[in-house]
Symmetry: C2
Subunit: 240 residues, 2 copies
């Protein structure tokens, strides 16, 4: 009952031929840029912007103001942003967008099993962004949640960091401690984690990651990639 | 500032050559079956089991008792199950496992953009499983949360169904109302949604989906696929 009695059969972890899904396609081009719709904050959108910048992927960076939002909301597939619009197809959910672009821009794993491991790590980062403490930092910064920022940091955010950051450190260690989650090339999950955790030191507390040197090193590495470094240098300050 | 000034460049949505990542590999086989580790309940594991059954993917169905769990917990990448172990590599997070198997078993989208749309829908189903009402049904059923089941259903679960089921219905409608989320072949997201919502009628209230005919039709369709029908017929009852 607990075991199925078919013949043993195994799916090997062969390298993905990126050409099949990305290389050929990037050579072709049509007139319309992808459109990226989000608010004028880092929030759940900045990792996506950085991934496109890293991949040299031209996009229209639509930043929706609070006044404009009601006019956009009903046209979004989930009534939410971020949304990536590709040839008229709108994709919502930030992690779905990151993964799609990761594959398109060759910033994913190089085998199906590496992709699965990256997806697992991506889910952990996503969980962290959905926590009641760390996940609510933007809402506190933007005033949607009325709270004293220092108090909220100490009592609500620090416990979430204490829970999730060690897991992230361990995943970084497992990949030969080379500073990345998988292989030797930055993927969408490296960008996603670096952006997510750097918001803690940028917006919550400068010492938020003092106990987590591998996450700090990941952030430093990502932020020193020339394309991203230039993007961050030009980026105007936003409240969250 | 809001627009990047690179040349317009576009990644077209070309069909994925499944052969590159799945067909070749399924032909090869090694002696060791994938091992699927979860508790002896449907919970977050049954959709994964059904997907493997659908794909004819042989696996060792390890069902961990509460007594055995402490001996397993520390060996799991996130201290949690479900976990799929492939040649010694352990993948956690149910959605990461579903997506991996979906691609390996040709039960994913047939273009990158279809995959992205399915990922978006998968994220919505996942959100539903993480809600404070519907998501906590297993904990109520297993007694981890002390609550009157009928009262919990009416006050906590129904609002979550009212929020998420219409979105799911709309995604089903968008695909030409053919009963599936994408294309004309059942994918991992169809299996995931059918299992997630069928637990409501099986465990919470028989009329839970009366207002949602497309979700009911999806469940009926999935449960009548011969391999899954046989699996369900043989399945022993579990408390959640």
């Amino acid at each position: 009952m607990d075991e199925h009695d078919q013949e043993p059969e195994k799916v090997l972890d062969v390298p993905i031929e990126h050409g099949a899904r990305t290389m050929e396609s990037t050579v072709q081009s049509v007139g319309m840029k992808d459109k990226f719709l989000y608010f004028d904050v880092r929030g759940r959108g900045e990792a996506i912007r950085q991934l496109m910048v890293l991949g040299g992927h031209s996009f229209e960076d639509v930043r929706i103001s609070m006044e404009e939002w009601p006019g956009f909301k009903d046209q979004m597939p989930l009534g939410q942003v971020p949304v990536l619009e590709v040839n008229g197809t709108k994709i919502g959910q930030s992690v779905a967008i990151l993964r799609y672009l990761g594959h398109q821009l060759r910033r994913a794993g190089s085998t199906p099993l590496e992709c699965a491991r990256l997806d697992m790590i991506g889910e952990v980062v996503q969980e962290f962004t959905n926590t009641e403490g760390a996940g609510k930092l933007p809402a506190v910064l933007l005033g949607f949640i009325k709270a004293n920022k220092e108090e909220f940091y100490k009592t609500k955010i620090v416990p979430d960091v204490d829970k999730y950051a060690p897991i992230i450190e361990r995943f970084l260690l497992e990949n030969g401690n080379n500073g990345l989650f998988s292989g030797d090339r930055e993927t969408w999950v490296d960008i996603f984690a670096a952006e997510t955790f750097s918001k803690l030191t940028d917006y919550a507390s400068h010492d938020a990651l003092d106990a987590y040197p591998r996450i700090q090193a990941l952030i430093t590495r990502i932020h020193n990639i020339p394309a991203i470094k230039e993007h961050i240098a030009k980026r105007k300050p936003t409240p969250a």
